[in-house]
Every structure is written in C-alpha cells, then in structure tokens.
C-alpha cells in the first residue's frame, strides 16, 4: 500500500528561499486549513471522546488485553522476521551482480503501490482454505505475519541496500587488508554502518504493522485481528463509541510515540554523500547458491501472493469468463472507483503543489506533509464521523479523506524536486530574457514534471486501493472496487470467490499501471543511461 512510501528520503535541505514569507503563508493557507479540518481536529475530537471513557477497567478486560498485546506482538514479530530475512537478501542484492538485477531492485517498489486488499487476497489464495499450496493457515497467526512481510520486507531491503551503498569500497578493502575475513567485515564494518538505516526502517515497519487495518481484517480472523479492526467492529457493528474512542486514543498515543521516534531516527541518518560504493560482482561457486536462496526467499515473500492472485483469477476466468463481472454492482464499483480516484487526484494535485511551494525552506511544513502517512486511516475516519456527523452522508467528506491520504505524495515528491533545482538555473533563464511565467514554463516545469508524475501515480495508487476509510464511511451507493471485493469475499459460494479474485486481479493490474508510470524512466534518465 502506498503510504509505505513515506520513508523514502525526499532530498536535501533547500538552498534558497525563492518565495518571501508573506506569499508563502498565503500558499500554505489552503493545505494548512485542509490538514487542520481533515486530520488535526478529528484526531483531537477522538482524543476528547477517548478521554471521557478510558478507565482502568477497560484495560483489565482480558479480551482487550489480548487484542492490544497481540497487536504489539505481531508488529514486533514482523520486525524481527523482516530484519532476519531482509538483511541477508539486501546484502546479496547489493553485493552480487546477476542478470535482471536492476529489474529486481525496481520490482521491490511494487508492494509500495499494491492495495492491501490485493495482498490479502493473494495470501488467502496461497494459504487460505483450499489454498494453492494445500496448507490451510486460516485462524493461525501465520497468515497475518506473512501478509505483513509481503509489504514490509521490501521496505527493510531497500533501506538496507541504501545503507550498504553508502559504505565506500575503500573502507571495506581497508578492513580486509587489516586481516578481517568477509564475515568479520560484515560484522565490524557493514553492520554498524547499516544499523541506523535499519532502525528507522524497522520503526516504520512496526508502525505500519501495529496500526494495520486491511490485512488484519482479512487475515487475522476472529482471534488474530488487531486493535484497529476492533475499533472498526466496535463502531460499525456494536455502535460502542465509548470503548472505540478509548482504544483509538491508546492507538494514537502509541503510534504518535513511534512516529516521533522514527522522525528522530531519520534525522540522525547522515545526508547521502557522494561515495564510491563497492560495485556488485559476479558470484562465484557457492555464492551462487547464496544468491539463489536470497532470490528464492524474495520471491516467496514478495512475489508469490501476486502470482497467486493472477493464477486464481485466471482459473476463475477460465471457469466462467466475463459473466462474473457483468452485474450492476461491478459497474457501480468501477464507475465509483474511477470517479473518486479522479476527483481525489485533482484535489491532491492542487493541494500538493501549494504545499510543496509553501514548504520550500520550511522544515515545519515539510514535517506536516508527513502527518497523513503516520496517522491510521481508521482513526481519522472515526474522528471525522465524530466531528462531522451531519456530513457523514456527504460524498465530499469521502473525497476529502481520499485527498488527505493521497496529496502528501504529490507534495513530498514535488518538494524534493524543488530542492534539487539549483537557484541559478531560473536566474540564468531570467537573465536570458525570460519573464517569470516563461521561466516556469521553459525551465522549472520540464524539470519538475517527472517528480509530479511520480507523486500523482502514488496518489492514484493510494486512491485506487483505499479501503479503511471507504469501509468506515461507506454507503451502499459509494461501492468501490475494494469494498466490493470485501463484500464478495464475505458471501458464500465459488462464484463470489471467483469474482472477488477477478476484481482483485483487476485492482492489481491498475496498481501495476501506476507502478509503470512511477518507474518509467524520464527522458533525462533515459538519455543518461544511453551515454554512460
């Protein structure tokens, strides 16, 4: 799911302030008001609700105790597993050269745009009842842990690869000549250097697993669901707002603490320097086995669920063909998904531009763009319902929450590109006779376009796969692809299962499209590659 992208660094501190204070404030007004109305106030309202009802009795309840400890436990277990599995894979990817290496590194981005629902369907297709592998893990903790790894293993791997690439080759060679064996070099030089990158990545992994909703709802079953699922069920089925509020407040405090820890860890990371990293080399002898094992593990955890969706959808297609998709609900869901995503994208583009321009030079606004990434969608949706009960049937509330989740991608991507734009290029254009808007049109816009496109693609992937908020605010006429899949999954019969799988496959293909747009090299990059 796309909100996992947030850890990727967006660039360095700005070099110049191109827009003076008062105009910046004007630009920031709209995004700030939006953030205030759509996330800060709802969360404050939620805190208020929780404050009244939190009591020691609630925490003494065994059922809730289990929910909370399991939420923490599964997040911690996912972190440990992601570290133990991810680090060796990352080492092999960073150090060995093999055919399709750069493609593999690019494909690691795929889970970042995959909707949670698609991943959950893939996991169920593999290890659910009548799973492809013949092992039924339903109602065990493994299903959720496996799903967590699908999303979070690539995050840890990418972070570790980045950390490994920051170690100069000379430092490794120095350690070797001083008598360290390759294993000792890893232990005494590479591990200390990669550690800070791993801690900050694991911090996010913990945050996402702990506050995960979609995976836990579909894979956790009765016993292994998380607190987020509990909040949803309390609100949606039991109408027990008091307990839900107390739990949500607990969640907010814990995730807030984790987010603060993450921000602190991230700031400690050294700014990327220009170093000569060790070039990857061809593995020799037993090293091939190492590499193959690493790639096998990668496929098992990060590729298999998607392949399973494809396979199962193919089976369903072969069985009943197009007829599974020919009904009123599918048409409604497709239309809604397209409509909501487009409108959300429009909002996200406007808000993203304003935020990025206003954030030039301001760390504070930059950090605020991070807010929608770390707050859980369930908490936001719950807060919105509490704060604006009169608008719960308004489509604009839904669209605004889509935009809230999507626009930070545009803002962060653009802010990074703006920072890397040297001030003297526009200055040169001005001195060559271009008026300000011509400077924008002929110099800045062509340079910012790739970042804008990437940001929009992430935003689109977020909107397409949005599940938590949609489920919370859902009304029958707002059926989207994700909620339809969830509905079909809950109904009995092979026909429903088949159509859920086909719809998941469709959603996966849409996410793939977003992925292609993100990873498609821009013209400049392509030219750079042609002339090494």
């Amino acid at each position: 799911m796309a909100r996992r992208m947030s850890w990727l660094p967006t660039g360095h501190l700005p070099r110049v302030l191109m827009i003076e204070g008062s105009r910046k404030l004007g630009l920031a007004l709209l995004p700030l008001a939006f953030l205030l109305l759509m996330s800060v106030l709802p969360l404050l309202r939620l805190l208020q609700e929780g404050q009244g009802s939190i009591s020691p009795d609630l925490l003494r309840d065994h059922y809730l105790q289990w929910r909370i400890s399991w939420s923490l436990l599964q997040a911690a277990a996912s972190c440990v597993a992601a570290l133990l599995i991810g680090l060796p894979i990352a080492w092999c990817l960073a150090r060995y050269h093999f055919p399709c290496r750069s493609l593999t590194l690019r494909l690691l981005m795929l889970p970042f745009v995959m909707p949670t629902l698609v991943a959950a369907m893939g996991v169920l297709a593999l290890f659910g009842p009548h799973g492809l592998l013949g092992i039924n893990l339903q109602d065990t903790p493994w299903l959720l842990l496996y799903g967590n790894l699908f999303f979070n293993l690539p995050l840890v791997i990418r972070a570790a690869c980045e950390g490994l690439a920051q170690i100069p080759a000379s430092r490794l060679a120095a350690a070797r000549t001083l008598g360290a064996t390759p294993w000792r070099v890893f232990w005494r030089v590479e591990w200390p250097a990669v550690r800070p990158w791993l801690w900050s990545a694991l911090c996010l992994v913990f945050l996402y697993c702990f506050s995960g909703f979609g995976l836990a709802l579909l894979l956790g079953g009765q016993r292994y669901a998380t607190v987020e699922v509990e909040i949803y069920q309390l609100v949606a089925y039991e109408l027990n707002l008091a307990d839900a509020g107390a739990l949500a407040m607990l969640m907010l405090l814990l995730t807030g603490a984790m987010a603060a820890l993450y921000a602190w860890l991230e700031r400690r990371l050294a700014a990327p320097l220009k170093v000569d990293p060790l070039p990857p080399r061809r593995p020799q002898g037993r090293e091939w086995l190492q590499l193959l094992a690493a790639l096998g593990m990668l496929l098992l955890f990060a590729g298999l669920p998607l392949l399973a969706v494809l396979w199962r959808a193919g089976q369903a297609w072969a069985g009943s063909g197009f007829s599974l998709l020919q009904d009123e609900d599918v048409r409604l869901a497709l239309g809604n998904t397209a409509r909501f995503s487009l409108l959300a994208l429009l909002l996200a583009a406007v808000l993203g531009w304003l935020h990025a321009l206003a954030a030039r030079g301001g760390l504070c606004l930059r950090a605020l763009a991070f807010l929608p990434f770390v707050v859980s969608p369930v908490c936001v949706a719950f807060g919105l319902l509490l704060l604006y009960p009169q608008w719960s049937a308004s489509l604009w509330l839904l669209l605004a929450s889509y935009a809230l989740l999507a626009y930070p991608f545009v803002a962060r991507s653009l802010a990074g590109a703006l920072d890397s734009l040297p001030a003297h290029w526009p200055q040169a254009a001005r001195s060559l006779g271009a008026r300000p808007w011509r400077v924008f049109y002929r110099v800045e816009w062509p340079l910012l376009r790739p970042a804008f496109r990437r940001g929009l693609a992430f935003a689109a992937a977020t909107a397409l796969g949005e599940f938590a908020v949609t489920l919370f605010l859902s009304r029958p006429e707002w059926l989207t692809l994700t909620t339809l899949i969830y509905q079909r999954l809950g109904r009995p019969g092979a026909e429903n299962a088949g159509s859920a799988m086909l719809l998941s496959c469709l959603l996966m293909l849409l996410a793939l499209l977003a992925f292609l747009i993100i990873e498609w090299p821009s013209a400049a990059q392509a030219a750079e590659r042609r002339e090494p």
Binding site: P168, R171, A173, T177, L178, G179, T181, R188
Partner: protein
C-alpha cells in the same frame, strides 16, 4: 621479497596490466608512477588481493599469493581517502587490525597506544575520526597500517587529498618512518615529485605496461622514451634526445629563433621559441635578461643553440 611475473588483467574494454613483471627488495620503497587510468591502482589491488590477475603470478618470499585471501596476506593498504571507520574512535581504528589478528583487547589497546605515541598522536585516542584534520587522519591511517607490522605496506595516493604545504611536511616525516620501520612499501602516485621524494625506485606505467623502472637519478639521466621524458617534467623533448636547460646555449653565434610566448616569472621569464630543431622552452634569469636591452617581445628573435654533448640520450632496453 615481492615478485610479479607477467601479470595480465583486463576489464571489459581496457587492458590495465599487460605482462607486468616487477621485483621488490627487502626494505625497498617502490613508486608506481603514471597518469590516471594507466593501471597503477589496479596493480596495487592485485598485490593486495582485492583483484585477481587474469594470468601471471605474484609471489611473496617465494610463496605464490594466488590462493591466499586478502586478509591472510598481511599487506597493509592505505587509501587516498584514508578509509577510517566512522563508527570507531581513533583508538578503535588503530586496534582494528590487531583484534582481527587475534590479539586480546587489552594487548591491542596497549600496542595501539604505543603506536599513536610514536606518531605524535598521543591524547587523541577518544577522538571521533571526522573531527580530525586531513594530516591527523593521514597519520591515524598510517598508525592503523603500521601497528599490525605488515610484511608490505601498500599506499594508494596517500598524500593527494592534503594541501601542498602539509603534503611536503608529511612526506618527509613519512620517509623517516618508513626507513625506521625498515618495511618494504609500494606507493601509487601520479605526482612525479612525490615519487622521486619518497621512492628508492620508480616504475613508470602507461596503458598497462611498465615503460621504465629505475632509480629517480637514472630516470632523470636517461629516460626511456620521449613520452616518459615529458611525463617526468622535461620541457624540451626531441626525437634524438632530451635537451635539459644546461644544454641550451645563448649568444650571437647561435642560430636565431623566433619568440612565440613569454611568461613572466618572479625572477626572470620563461620563453618559448621556434628554432630549426623544433619548439624549445627556456628560462632566462633576470640577470640574463638584462643583456637584451631592447627587451624581449613576441615575434622578436633570440639566438639559441643546443649543445649536443650535454643532451640526454634515451635509455635503451
């Protein structure tokens, strides 16, 4: 001690070593000198064991190095950027090799402290490496390399990231320390002054082969090729030999040459003339310049001749 026999290595498009043979005596300092891309760094990496040669043999004390991994060769390599470990303090860096060689932490710290003291770094044990100046970093890197008593010291442009004054001062210190340790060393550099100042012998490399390997005095007295003569700093290089400054004769009985360029120096001028023998560059002191009452100007004539007997002939073989 170290012997290279017909070592060849090529990367995708480039031959970095083309049948290189070399010998290093005990206690000797050898410089590998050449322009960038001549293959000198790759040769150093092959000696260290970081790269494997495609063919040829490397021997140390009669033992073939092919099967010996980097860490077991006991050759210390010092890098251009010093490659100090940022997660360790100064003492931790110097201890690194000792601990890898199996010393206890206490013994390693003791030895490292002694070594730091010898190199004038006492009291810096707990400093973080990024707070050190360039010269201090260089000394810490040297301490880290020397403390393990390597059989051979390999140096990859160890002075090139320092500024000129500091470089000269450290080169002198360095030369004394190497002498005192009696350790053989191979120094890679593109700076001829550094090579001549530090090395007993200099091997000049070009495109993966050795053009000439001799003592600095021999190199200067009889360079092997015109290219090499230019590379080690001679200005007037002719087909038949090198014309050093003292082989140029001035005076009315010499043939006339046209002045092309004049560069003012602190104590004279450097003049570039076109003579019958070709383009020549000569330096005139302020005293010599006074002979020319009319002064020198571009386009005017200067009488310059070559004393053939004082010319340097190219070494053969």
């Amino acid at each position: 001690m170290l012997q290279l026999e017909q070592v060849c290595k090529r990367f995708a498009h480039k031959r970095v070593a083309d049948g290189i043979s070399l010998q290093l005596q005990a206690g000797e300092v050898l410089a590998l000198l050449g322009p960038s891309g001549c293959g000198k760094s790759s040769l150093l990496k092959m000696i260290a064991g970081l790269e494997q040669p495609d063919s040829g043999r490397l021997l140390f004390a009669g033992e073939d190095l092919a099967a010996i991994p980097v860490e077991a060769r006991r050759f210390a390599l010092m890098f251009q950027d010093f490659a100090l470990f940022p997660h360790l303090d100064v003492l931790g860096n110097v201890c690194f090799g000792l601990i890898e060689r199996g010393l206890s932490r206490v013994a390693a710290r003791q030895q490292a402290q002694d070594c730091l003291q010898q190199l004038g770094l006492a009291g810096m044990e707990a400093r973080r490496v990024w707070t050190l100046s360039g010269g201090e970093q260089q000394r810490v890197a040297l301490a880290r390399a020397l403390v393990t008593r390597p059989r051979l010291l390999l140096l990859d442009e160890p002075f090139s990231s320092l500024d000129a004054d500091l470089r000269r001062q450290l080169q002198q210190e360095f030369r004394q320390q190497l002498r005192a340790a009696g350790m053989p060393a191979i120094l890679v550099t593109h700076d001829r002054e550094e090579a001549f100042a530090l090395a007993d012998r200099v091997a000049v490399l070009r495109d993966g082969h050795i053009v000439q390997c001799a003592t600095p005095a021999q190199l200067l007295a009889a360079p092997a090729t015109p290219w090499l003569a230019r590379f080690i700093g001679y200005e007037n290089v002719l087909e038949e030999g090198v014309v050093p400054e003292h082989a140029l004769r001035l005076g009315p009985d010499q043939p006339a040459a046209e002045v092309r360029r004049i560069i003012q120096l602190a104590d004279g001028v450097r003049v570039c003339v076109v003579s019958a023998a070709g383009e020549l560059t000569l330096t005139l002191s302020a005293r010599e310049l006074r002979q020319y009452a009319a002064g020198l100007a571009v386009g005017s004539l200067l009488h310059v001749g070559i004393d053939r007997a004082a010319m340097l002939r190219y070494a053969t073989g």
